[in-house]
Symmetry: C2
Subunit: 423 residues, 2 copies
C-alpha cells in the first residue's frame, strides 16, 4: 500500500498540517468533487476492498473474535455501497467553512467579522470498524480539515485499502498531499504519539468504547472530544398519558438498546405507579428486557414477571443491552434529583401532561438534551437535521449534544481597518 508507509507519526502529522492550510482555502466545489470521486472509487474498487477485508476476517476468526466484533469488522458490497452513499450525503451538506457568524463595524470604524474556519488537523482513533476510515475522513474533508487515522490492527488490511482508495481518489480530484493519512501501527505507542502532537494536531476524537477513551485520557496533551456514554432516563410523571408513557418507555429501551441514547432507567411517579407499572413491567419482560427495580416497583410486578432487586450500581450503569432499572419516586423533584445524580448528562425524557412539571424538568435537569413526551432515541444528529454526526457530546465546552460538521470547526476574527491605533 502506497498510503501506509513507515513514516513516523510526527512526520505524518507535519504533512497533515501543511495540507491543512491548503484545505482551509479550498472552495466547496473542489471538496464536494473530491467526495464524489471518493464515493465512486469505493464502489468501483469494491472487489479489492472485500479481498482485504476477507484477510482481516480470516485473522479475526483465528484470533477467536466474538460474533459481534466479527460483524462490525465485516464488509460486503452492500455495506461498501452504504459507506459510499454516506460520503455523497456529506458532500450534499452545506459547507460550514467561511460562514460569517457575526460581524459589525466598531465605534472607530474597524470592521470585525467572526468567520467559521476549519480546526486544522484532526486525528481519529477507532476500533475494528473499517467504515469509520471513510466516514471520519469525509466529515473532516467536508469541514476543511486534514485527517490522521489510527485504526485497530484487527482491521489493518481493510483500513489500508480503504485509505488508499480514498487518498488516490482525493489526490486525483485536486486535494493537497497529506489531506488524509493512516498511521501504520494500531498499537498504544502510535496512540500516545498521536495524542501528544500538541501544536500540530488540533483535536483528537476517539470513536470506540470506554477502554479507548481511558487510554487516551491518560496521555493526551492534544484536546480530546469524547463521544458520550449515555445513562438516560424516562420519567413518567403523575399526569402522564400512560399509553404514551408505555410506548415511549418501550421505544427508548428496546428500539436499539446498544446505542447511547437508549434508556437505562425508568422512573415512575408513585401516584400512577399502581396503574402504570404492572402492565409496563409485563410488556418490557415480554419484549425480553431484564428488569432490576427498587422495592416499590418490584411489589407492583405481576407474579409472572421476574424482577431483580436494583443495587446502587444499577442506577449508575449504562447497560447498552436489554436491561432496565426501574424506580418509583414521589415527586418531579425526586425524579430530577435522581437524574442529576446518576445520569451522564446525555438525553433525559419526561412524560407528562403538566406544564409546570415539564418546565421544571427541562430547566433543572442538567443534560445535553431534555425531551418532553417523546423517546430519548430522537437525540441524534440525523434526527436533528445535522445530516451527519461524529457522535453525541456530553461535555459542556465546545459542543454539547449531537456533533455535526460545526463541531470540527472553530472561529477566526477578521478585523479590517485603515490605520487605526488604540488610545
Amino acid at each position: 500500500m502506497a498510503t501506509v508507509t513507515a513514516t513516523s507519526v510526527a512526520d505524518i502529522c507535519a504533512a497533515a498540517k501543511r495540507a491543512a492550510t491548503q484545505l482551509a482555502a479550498l472552495p466547496s466545489g473542489v471538496k464536494n468533487g473530491a467526495l464524489e470521486a471518493i464515493a465512486a472509487a469505493l464502489v468501483e474498487r469494491t472487489p479489492e476492498i472485500l479481498e482485504a477485508n476477507a484477510r482481516d476476517l480470516e485473522a479475526g476468526r483465528e484470533a477467536g473474535l466474538t460474533d459481534a466484533l466479527m460483524d462490525r469488522l465485516a464488509l460486503d458490497s452492500g455495506r461498501v455501497a452504504t459507506v459510499a452513499g454516506q460520503v455523497r450525503d456529506i458532500a450534499a451538506l452545506p459547507d460550514p467553512v467561511g460562514e460569517v457568524i457575526e460581524g459589525r463595524r466598531l465605534y472607530n470604524g474597524l470592521e470585525v467579522r467572526k468567520v467559521r474556519v476549519p480546526l486544522g488537523v484532526i486525528a481519529v482513533v477507532y476500533e475494528a470498524r473499517p467504515n469509520v476510515t471513510i466516514d471520519a475522513a469525509a466529515l473532516c474533508l467536508k469541514s476543511g480539515n486534514s485527517i490522521v487515522l489510527r485504526g485497530s490492527s484487527m482491521a489493518a488490511a481493510s483500513n489500508a485499502v480503504l485509505a488508499a482508495v480514498a487518498i488516490e481518489a482525493g489526490l486525483s480530484a485536486g486535494l493537497p498531499p497529506g489531506f488524509m493519512a493512516l498511521v501504520a501501527g494500531g498499537g498504544h505507542e502510535e496512540l500516545s504519539e498521536l495524542a501528544t502532537q500538541a501544536g500540530v494536531v488540533d483535536l483528537i476524537i476517539p470513536r470506540g468504547g470506554e477502554g479507548l477513551k481511558a487510554a487516551l485520557k491518560g496521555v493526551a496533551t492534544v484536546p480530546v472530544m469524547y463521544a458520550a456514554s449515555g445513562n438516560c432516563h424516562v420519567y413518567v410523571d403523575a399526569s402522564a398519558d400512560l399509553a404514551d408513557a408505555l410506548a415511549i418507555t418501550l421505544n427508548a429501551k428496546i428500539q436499539r438498546p446498544s446505542v447511547c441514547n437508549a434508556a437505562e432507567t425508568l422512573l415512575v411517579h408513585s401516584a400512577v405507579a399502581d396503574e402504570f407499572l404492572p402492565a409496563a413491567l409485563d410488556a418490557l419482560a415480554e419484549a425480553g428486557v431484564e428488569l432490576r427495580a427498587d422495592a416499590r416497583a418490584r411489589s407492583l410486578a405481576r407474579p409472572s414477571v421476574d424482577v431483580a432487586e436494583a443495587t446502587e450500581e444499577d442506577w449508575a450503569t449504562e447497560y447498552h443491552a436489554l436491561t432496565l432499572a426501574v424506580g418509583v419516586v414521589d415527586s418531579v423533584d425526586e425524579a430530577i434529583e435522581h437524574v442529576n445524580r446518576y445520569g451522564s448528562g446525555h438525553s433525559e425524557a419526561i412524560v407528562t401532561g403538566d406544564l409546570a412539571a415539564a418546565e421544571r424538568f427541562t430547566r433543572e435537569v442538567d443534560a445535553a438534551a431534555v425531551v418532553v413526551n417523546a423517546s430519548t432515541r430522537f437525540v441524534d444528529g440525523a434526527e436533528f437535521g445535522l445530516g451527519a454526526e461524529i457522535g453525541i457530546s456530553t461535555q459542556k465546552l465546545h459542543v454539547r449534544g449531537p456533533m455535526g460538521l460545526e463541531a470540527l470547526t472553530c472561529v477566526k476574527h477578521v478585523v479590517h481597518g485603515d490605520g487605526q491605533v488604540r488610545r
Copy 2:
C-alpha cells in the same frame, strides 16, 4: 469572616453545585438587582476593605514583594469604586442565559430548541489581584453560574473581606446560599483539590501567569480555559502605507506592552525595508524599546540606534515588555510562515495596500484574530463590544478570541413532542 470557613473544598463545591440549579433559573432582574447590591455594598464598606488590604500590604512589604506586585495588590477608594463600576457595567449587559440560539420543527412534529444555559459551577484561581474576586464573581453571577474562588495567600485578608461583602449583599438580594465562595487556603493543595472536582466543578479558569497555568495543567481533571499568552506580530507588506505602518507598529508595541495583544515581533518586506526600517527603528529606540533584529534589519539601523542580534529564542518569546524582535522577509508567504511557526495564535496584523496580500494573510495565518491595517491592541472583549472579558483564548475549542459572558455558558437541547417514538 463568616464567608471563609474551615469547610473542605469538596463541601464548598457541593454547595456551589446546589446553588447552581437555582441560579440557572433566576430571572435577569434578580441577578441584576444582586449585582447592583454588591456594587453598592462595595462602595459603602470601602473602609473595611481598605483596612484588610492594608494588612495584606503590610505583610507584602515584610515579605519583600516587588513594586509591581505591591501595585497589583493595593486598593484605594478609587480602585474600589472602579471595581464597583465594573460590576454595574456587567449588570447592564444583556443576559446570555435563555437565549434560543436556534430552533425548528422536525419532520415528525418534534419541536427542538437549542437554548443557552449556564455551565454550572465555575472555579477561578488567581494571583494577588484582589479585584479579580469581585470581577470574576460578577461575570459568573451574570451568566447564572455559581463561583468558587481560590486566591493567593498574599491577598488573603483583602479577598476575604471582598468576598464577605459580595456574599452578604448577594444573599440579601435573594441569591441562593452557595452562589459564591472563597476557598480559605491559597496553597497548592487547595488548587489541586479544586481542579479535580470533575462532575461538580464544570470549568476552572486560571487568571494569572504561566506558573499558575502550569500548576493546573499537571493536575486538572476539570476542563480548563486558559487565558492566552500572546506572541503577536506586525507584518509590514511591500505595499504598506508606511506612515500607517509606523503608527501601528509603535502602538502595538508601546501603548501597553505588558498585555497579551501587544506586538512582540515586527516583520518587514524587503522591498520597503530600506525605506521603512531606519526611521522605524529610530522611533522605537527613542520610545525606549530594546531591539533584537536579524542581520538584514540590523544593517538598516542608523548608527545611533542600538540593535542586538536576534536569536532563535527571540522569535518565540512573548516579552511582555518594551522589547521587540525585528526581521526582514522577502514575501507575504515568508511572513505567514514565520507567524504560523513562532506565533501563539493570538492576534496578528498585516499593514498592506494590496488586496491579495490581505486575503492571503487573513486566510492563511492561523490565529484567533487577524488584523488588516490596524493595531493588534484592538483585539479585546471591550473593544469588540462584548462588554467584559475573562481573557482572550488562543485555544480553538469552545471559545477562540475574547471570552465574554457567552464563554461561561453552554447549550441545552429542549425537545417537545406529543408521544413520538422512533421507528
